[in-house]
Symmetry: C2
Subunit: 599 residues, 2 copies
């Protein structure tokens, strides 16, 4: 029975809700009470990073400081007191580690979410927006200044920066913690990174995955070494320059100028990219030590990709896919000229790249049991910002050389990593399809400490030195920045006594552990990488994929992709289809995992 | 008395609301029913722009077409049927002309809005978001392709484009309407634009306003004539490059490298920028016909600004303001180095530029009686996109040479426009302060047809020719794009019989009237410009100002501007203060209007 009391109760209820809303409003809009904190430090107190929750530290010559907590959702002298709404939000938000374990476990709810479109959309919206919120957009920092500059935004030759550099005048390279001099890089590599014995990835990851990672990411990781490690030649995101080239000059050189297609040549009845001699004017921009022969070196969107067979394979596949898409478009639009076919195919390829990266690549990488979907429309109308800049820390994080094994078995031949450097010959010795099958059946290494092959040590060494040149903060500062708990000691970080001892020897203080070192030495997680790598790399990755212009409301429609058929190619793309459509002899069972039963 | 019926009625009410929500949901999420339309046209049917409400037209060789209505809020073969939510939204939205008349009238409600912060914030939020929604962000088009390309976004040397170019293969330059050949530019200029007799602006606008417009906008209107009228050398927005220079090289050349300041010299006891001889390495990038003398030409953020006294005056004032702000910052932060003082002062200057542009300049330009406020925090957390690109149509729209009078009276001297070209000597003959007072007391011209002075005709001519080269659509297409009713005939456009007759002679068809021609020949509105100029320029302008990175949540806080004092300089900036702080002899009564009683 419904009674008057019930109704009176409802009115009371409404009144309470209104009162709460009023309180929340006032809590949420009051200005943050900045207070000067005086210290006895004999250094700039901001070097100790006293401000939590992304509060910005400003210090004064008398060794006092202020935390600017504006728009952080926190207040108090060190931005540690959650405002009411922030408190509610944080109370509802699960602990990142628990959430990660849940997302990677076989929970019955994921079956429901994966099969009910409405719930799946909600899950993707949550993922896209919560990850996107963790990335400054517009970008605020670059590597030449430890404070916000207008240049960080307007000078796009800078890589962005998530945390500004440690100021030069701080007592130690990490701020105030740790030794005055960081450990010798070579000793660090020897004790922490170098592979003793190849450790395969426990998730059956194969080399098709490893090379996908490399091929995909080097469209936007393009350090400009002429200018310095803080600068990039890239354009800030998924621009498909790994297929087409990063300059208009380069793009023109590899176009066929007919039917929208890329140049190709036929070798043994199969389509391959042209040689450099057939692409006049192509500027390779490779370091002088890279051997280039115009008669036998292939001309690709990314010249470096002609130096490694795995990267070459993907370049061939994407070139074929582009030309295949051009044929579909020409069939649909026989009146379109070369220019329109080319540009529209490029939009479709960009869509395919994003779709495959999210649904095949990140799905495998994360080992999430929630099915990831490329559904940009779920965030239309939200606060998500459709613009991206690459952060230099993302480039460093993505140094995934431990994935690279010591060698690869193709049919009955065995090639070491160095056997395959600077030459794509093995692809032609065995044939493209056989080489792809070999990439699929060779195991990639585990992304962990002590699994870095000798051959790629120079890249690791250079990157570690660069991170010191541009003064990265330590791993714990990055963990705080991305809402993860900080490590309390070396065992807490590694879960491995020997490794913990080595790191203790090298750094002395957990707060001094460098960014990349902390990422790679963290204890295992259910994903291919340790937890921080997922939860720090994830936001940059999601932002880079979903902030692409094609995902925005005015672009995400059939006409952008030449009509329904083009749009459907994007929306149904998969690694499987990409290979099936572009391998001569079939693609059965090829995925990012070695076939069942592989040793 | 509350009865059970009332409660039952409430349940019914809730049920009805739920049902309506469900219907809306289904209406809003169904995919748009694209239908192929067959035509008998002997041309590409998309040349007739059949798709309304920003639907995208795709045609097929059999002369059929499809309108892609995705994400427009409309459906139907030509995207003319409003979805339910769109219909509700449109029903609530006032007609733009009526709204404009209301905004510019002395209505009692504006007094309330102006004086109640909560309502004022709501008004500004509405203005920022509704204007921002009208600009594609990310930008979709450039001038070399009549369809969406990835390059429009990633190649930032392109100006953006709001409506794509008329395809080359269309029957007439405007699509299907009008003559095969557009009217001769010189005849057009003579009959429509050329000043018969100087018409002063009826809102008492002075030359301080005119030069502000020019000085402010040329930080982002920087056509790259070496590459073509579709390319820019600018960085996409309010980057303060008009004060500091657009390249790092340029910026370095005019820095003092001490206390964050810009270089200066003292002339007659006042601070002025240095001469070119004192800025080694400065690249002027001026056309060869511009006379530059290293010993007497001033070195400014924008070299061209040393050629006209009005632009020079603003350059001097902003240089002084920058150096003044550096002193305030140094007083607050005596430990900061030159670099940090410079970059932080630049952030403050950028904030001042935006504040003064919105609250003084746009306020006067629009003649709105609602007080415009620079409150970026009102849109934090909304769908507003904090990234901007300059559209080439905005550059064309801003050709406001009718503001320029035939000459200017300074004290007892009279200078024609040509007397003052390429020389800033008059500033020194009379003194800076006197020259500023002269700018304030000379009337600017009315922004209308038949008020374009002879001296600046070459700029108009070049711009009109450029708009044909890059194939602008006609004014009515732009009016549709921005939600304005289209003109039905020439009298409807001009409200002036003679002008209507001339335009009829020249174009024959109202649909063939060019963009800029239509903007300038429209009948008067209560603003300084006709209605379309406000309602088309407004969105680009608001977007450019509010999408600046400093307005975004992570930037808009005291620490970005060096602390509370810096933030306060931004938040209290005004034209009045800018002048008072940087003129030697006081600034009383100087505004964007001539003093009361001026003839």
């Amino acid at each position: 029975m419904i009674t008057m009391e019930a109704f009176g109760g409802r009115r009371l209820h409404i009144a309470v809700v209104l009162a709460v809303v009023a309180v929340l409003w006032s809590v949420n809009t009051r200005s943050p009470p900045d207070s000067i904190v005086r210290t006895n430090a004999d250094y700039d107190p901001c070097c100790a990073y006293p401000c939590d929750n992304q509060g910005v530290c400003l210090s004064y010559p008398d060794r006092s400081y202020v935390c600017d907590c504006t728009n952080t959702g926190f207040s108090g002298i060190n931005c540690t007191s959650a405002d009411f709404l922030t408190w509610v939000h944080h109370s509802l938000k699960p602990d990142p580690e628990k959430l990660h374990n849940l997302l990677t476990s076989d929970w019955w709810l994921w079956d429901v979410v994966n099969n009910v479109p409405f719930l799946s959309d909600m899950a993707m919206k949550y993922i896209f927006i919560s990850r996107g919120d963790q990335v400054d957009s517009p970008v605020r920092f670059e590597s030449d200044h430890s404070y916000t500059t207008l240049d960080a935004y307007f000078n796009e030759t800078y890589f962005g920066r998530t945390l500004p550099p440690v100021p030069d005048h701080c007592p130690t390279p990490m701020g105030v913690a740790g030794p005055k001099q960081l450990p010798d890089v070579d000793e660090l590599i020897k004790r922490v990174f170098l592979r003793r014995k190849f450790i395969p990835d426990p998730h059956d990851t194969n080399l098709l995955f490893q090379y996908y990672a490399q091929h995909f990411t080097h469209q936007f990781f393009r350090t400009n070494y002429t200018k310095g490690p803080q600068f990039t030649k890239g354009l800030g995101g998924v621009d498909s320059s790994h297929v087409y080239g990063v300059t208009e000059h380069h793009r023109r050189a590899i176009r066929l100028n007919k039917d929208g297609k890329l140049k190709y040549q036929i070798i043994d009845g199969e389509h391959f990219p042209p040689y450099i001699k057939d692409t006049p004017g192509l500027d390779m921009e490779l370091p002088p030590y890279v051997p280039v022969n115009a008669d036998t070196t292939f001309a690709l969107g990314h010249p470096f990709y002609a130096m490694l067979p795995g990267l070459f394979v993907y370049s061939v596949i994407w070139m074929r896919e582009h030309n295949r898409v051009c044929e579909v478009l020409k069939d649909e639009h026989p009146d379109w000229d070369d220019e329109r076919l080319y540009h529209t195919a490029k939009l479709i390829i960009t869509g395919e790249v994003i779709k495959i990266t999210i649904e095949d690549y990140v799905q495998h990488l994360s080992q999430y049991k929630v099915r990831l979907r490329f559904k940009p429309d779920v965030i239309h109308g939200s606060r998500f910002q459709f613009h991206n800049r690459i952060n230099v820390e993302f480039d460093h994080l993505y140094h995934w050389h431990p994935l690279v094994p010591d060698g690869i078995k193709v049919n009955e031949s065995y090639y070491t990593v160095m056997d395959m450097a600077f030459s794509v010959k093995p692809v032609f010795v065995h044939g493209l399809d056989n080489f792809i099958r070999a990439m699929a059946s060779n195991r990639a290494g585990k992304l962990s400490a002590r699994n870095h092959g000798k051959a790629t040590v120079p890249f690791l060494r250079k990157m570690l030195l660069n991170s010191r040149t541009i003064r990265f903060r330590g791993i714990n500062e990055y963990r705080k920045r991305f809402g993860l708990k900080t490590f309390t000691d070396f065992m807490d970080l590694t879960g491995d006594e020997e490794l913990a001892r080595d790191l203790q020897d090298l750094y002395g203080d957990i707060e001094a552990v460098e960014f990349y070192v902390g990422l790679l030495t963290e204890r295992d997680s259910p994903s291919l990488t340790p937890l921080a790598m997922v939860n720090i790399g994830g936001p940059w990755s999601v932002k880079g994929l979903i902030a692409n212009p094609i995902c925005s409301p005015h672009w995400w429609k059939p006409s952008t992709f030449g009509g329904d058929r083009g749009f459907e190619i994007v929306q149904t793309a998969s690694l499987q289809k990409l290979l099936c459509n572009n391998m001569k002899s079939g693609c059965e069972g090829i995925s990012f995992k070695v076939p069942p039963g592989t040793a």
